[in-house]
């Protein structure tokens, strides 16, 4: 291990960590929104739209992100749609994450008690009000552990984004190995940077899970 070289590598990795974080945070936001909307629509069983959503969930859950990214990056330009590598990775990740979030939030939707819905209806709320004010706040809390799992999964999936020439941590590692011939140092920095990126999230979610257990026992049941 050459620690002088590692000190030299830190700024390069810092940039790529920020890029990875930016990408994953944007993707998490979009996919959370997409997942909530999709699961709300399929919960209300709107005829055609919910079939489309079912189809979308099946497709994006059963195909790897690598192929989705390649498809977006190399075959959309044939139709005149040119995406930059960041947009392409963002699009692919949100496409993948939306379906996983949809499944996660759906679990929360299903576990809400019927009394909640019926008492909501009896005080005269319409469907959207019912979802916004009564079902959604409870569903998100209930499905928090699953959502946390999906978020960590999405952050890990950003490692594939290097294949569309986005300079994320993996891509930088490959570059550094090629430039300085320092496999050990580069791989060490790779592990360190993933730990730096993911560990705060994992700790936050374990903290939140404890909180939710408390809420579960106190209010909902």
């Amino acid at each position: 291990m050459d620690f002088v070289l590692i000190m030299k590598l830190i700024p390069i990795y810092k940039e790529s960590i920020f890029l990875t974080l930016k990408l994953s945070l944007c993707a998490i936001m979009i996919s959370l929104f997409l997942g909530i909307v999709c699961s709300a629509i399929s919960y209300m069983k709107i005829p055609i739209v919910s079939w489309i959503i079912k189809f979308y969930v099946e497709i994006s859950r059963n195909t790897p992100l690598t192929i989705q990214l390649f498809f977006l990056y190399f075959s959309l330009p044939l139709f005149g749609v040119r995406l930059s590598s960041f947009n392409c990775a963002l699009f692919g990740l949100s496409f993948l994450g939306g379906s996983y979030m949809c499944e996660a939030v759906k679990g929360g939707f299903d576990s809400i008690k019927k009394t909640q819905i019926e008492s909501g209806l009896s005080i005269g709320l319409n469907n959207w009000q019912l979802i916004c004010h009564i079902i959604l706040p409870q569903a998100i809390v209930l499905s928090m552990p699953l959502i946390a799992g999906v978020i960590v999964f999405l952050i890990k999936e950003t490692s594939v984004a290097g294949i569309v020439a986005l300079a994320d941590v993996m891509f930088v590692t490959k570059d550094v190995i090629g430039m300085y011939y320092c496999t050990n140092e580069a791989l060490f920095m790779l592990i360190v940077s993933y730990v730096v990126i993911i560990l705060p999230f994992v700790l936050l979610f374990t903290f939140l899970k404890e909180k939710i257990k408390y809420i579960d026992n106190k209010i909902l049941f």
Partner: protein, 227 residues
């Protein structure tokens, strides 16, 4: 829409050999995932039962599980590839990817089994022991059938994820479906500029079919074992 009108069929006829190669290369993906899935199911069950015996084992196991989980599979592949397949006498990319998938799968499978054993109410064990079952009978007659019901959907989801993840082994130099696809596209750069669309679409479909059949099993078992 000009592009599609040039003839999807023409392209498929011209590149019939290429698509056959794609199918054959997809077998590499299936081979990697099949071997690692089978190995990791076996060792995962074994590991899960061993770990569930003592509390210290469980704590150590959780630490290792978090270590495996916190680093993406792609990074693990990289690590193992650069460490194991060095100069002469190193392992091939396929072997490295099987090892990585095996380690990952074993940890995940044993976590699934552990968590479902913890979810099983304690009185099941105790009443089994109370009516005089030995441990072997207890696990065979009472614990296993109930655990299987909880494990199967999760396990099949994990298998789907493993099949999906085999698509990144191309990045450590295994000649599999994505690599062959790129070769076909490069061959067709001037002849057929629209080749990426068909080739990647075909690979997309291959993965979709493979994963969909497996996840149909998940739905089947979920319905069958519904309480």
């Amino acid at each position: 829409m000009n592009i599609l009108s040039i003839g999807v069929l023409d392209f498929f006829v011209q590149e019939a050999v290429g698509f056959k190669r794609l199918l054959r290369a997809f077998c590499v993906n299936l081979y990697i995932s099949l071997v690692s899935v089978l190995l990791s199911i076996f060792f995962g069950i074994l590991f899960g039962f061993i770990v569930s015996k003592r509390k210290i084992f469980r704590i150590v196991f959780k630490i290792f599980l978090e270590i495996v989980r916190i680093i993406p599979i792609f990074a693990w592949l990289f690590l193992f590839y650069f460490k194991l397949s060095g100069k002469n006498g190193g392992l091939s990319g396929t072997a490295v990817s099987i090892i990585v998938f095996f380690v990952w799968g074993t940890f995940e499978f044993s976590d699934i089994i552990l968590s479902s054993m913890e979810a099983l109410p304690k009185h099941q064990y105790e009443s089994g022991l109370a009516i005089g079952f030995t441990y072997k009978q207890l696990y065979k007659k009472i614990i296993m059938p109930q655990i299987m019901r909880m494990v199967l959907p999760n396990a099949i989801n994990l298998i789907v994820r493993m099949i999906k993840t085999t698509s990144i082994v191309t990045l450590i130099g295994v000649i599999e479906v994505l690599k062959v696809g790129q070769q076909i596209i490069e061959y067709n750069v001037f002849k057929n500029p629209k080749a990426p669309f068909f080739v990647y679409g075909f690979i997309f479909a291959l993965f979709f079919v493979a994963c969909q059949t497996v996840s149909c099993f998940a739905k089947f078992f979920e319905n069958k074992f519904k309480i």
